[in-house]
Symmetry: C3
Subunit: 139 residues, 3 copies
């Protein structure tokens, strides 16, 4: 069990890449665990679907501008640094939704919520299935 | 950096309009910054897609009843009052998903989570791109 | 108005059923109110769409493996026990999104965030519309 640390609500400048900008923020603030949410609009986002047999992500490249209908993820440690794992739902001009693992996306608008969790230790390690994951919590 | 203020979990009465009801709640509780989430079901929701060149939202009007598959947003100040910015993913009877900026929707069921953030000041001001946005946070 | 209690971030073991595993966790930790989020991947998820006239869920059974593009829900009391109400957005191999009420899904990967809320009492009771709901909050 952890508790809440710092809480942040901010807007990413237009033109920045979402994942790298938030990761830079986490490094600057030294946030090692937490959750992230955002709303806004992304340009040319790439979303991943994990191919279990091939142990790699298939990348779906969406062209154009999409509403961030939902964006949520978590923060933990990988290779000694803060690592952001984000999933996203994107809406196109007709309102049709696409979803998956957010690989990258250029920000038109991104209003980001970051909530630090202190008192927990979560480290990603490469597993046999090809994903870098925390230890399982067994009940 | 802010910290957590009041935390609320409640159900909106059937028949109310989602955005206006939650905004009324924020005004009553004097909540100036925070985040919002919800699950439930909306009738005849209208979702927006921002047309960058035209500097206005295209409105997609969905007819009928939709599951709120995801709803997230933030609270800040606009024109001196609490302002709610919400994005949504909606699922139809076949499970097909639609997503965008929530303009309005009549509540059948809405279970709403509001978490106040204190110690931050976020004010929306009209920008050249046609959107009312906070100042950017530059790293 | 409530306040934050315990905060948890953990990974569910592969092969477990999502809803039952998190419910078991809530019972173990005696969490009576709160919110839940997750990202990851589910196998053969079943999502519900509430048929208002028939007062029952239509179940859409999705075959195969889906990214959890979004998962959010809340915790309250039903029949004296912690009860989890979760909605989900799922992305397929092409990135197409599906959404609704999560009935069940087998975990391939699930990284779960649980935040307890203390100081509120929320109990689900069966209503005339066929759903087990909290009392409405009237402004």
């Amino acid at each position: 069990m952890g508790s809440i640390g710092g809480v942040y609500l901010f807007r990413i400048p237009e033109g920045e890449e979402f994942i790298s900008y938030v990761t830079k923020f986490l490094e600057k603030e030294d946030i090692k665990a937490g959750v992230v949410k955002a709303v806004g609009t992304l340009r040319n986002p790439k979303i991943g679907y994990f191919l279990e047999k091939e142990k790699r992500y298939k990348i779906n490249e969406l062209e154009g501008t999409y509403e961030i209908a939902s964006l949520m993820g978590n923060i933990s440690i990988k290779d000694g640094k803060p690592f952001l794992h984000v999933h996203v739902v994107l809406g196109d001009e007709e309102g049709v939704a696409y979803g998956g693992h957010l690989i990258e996306g250029e920000v038109f608008v991104a209003e980001v919520f970051v909530m630090e969790i202190v008192g927990v230790e979560l480290e990603r390690k490469m597993r046999e299935n090809g994903l870098a994951l925390w230890d399982e919590m067994r009940l």
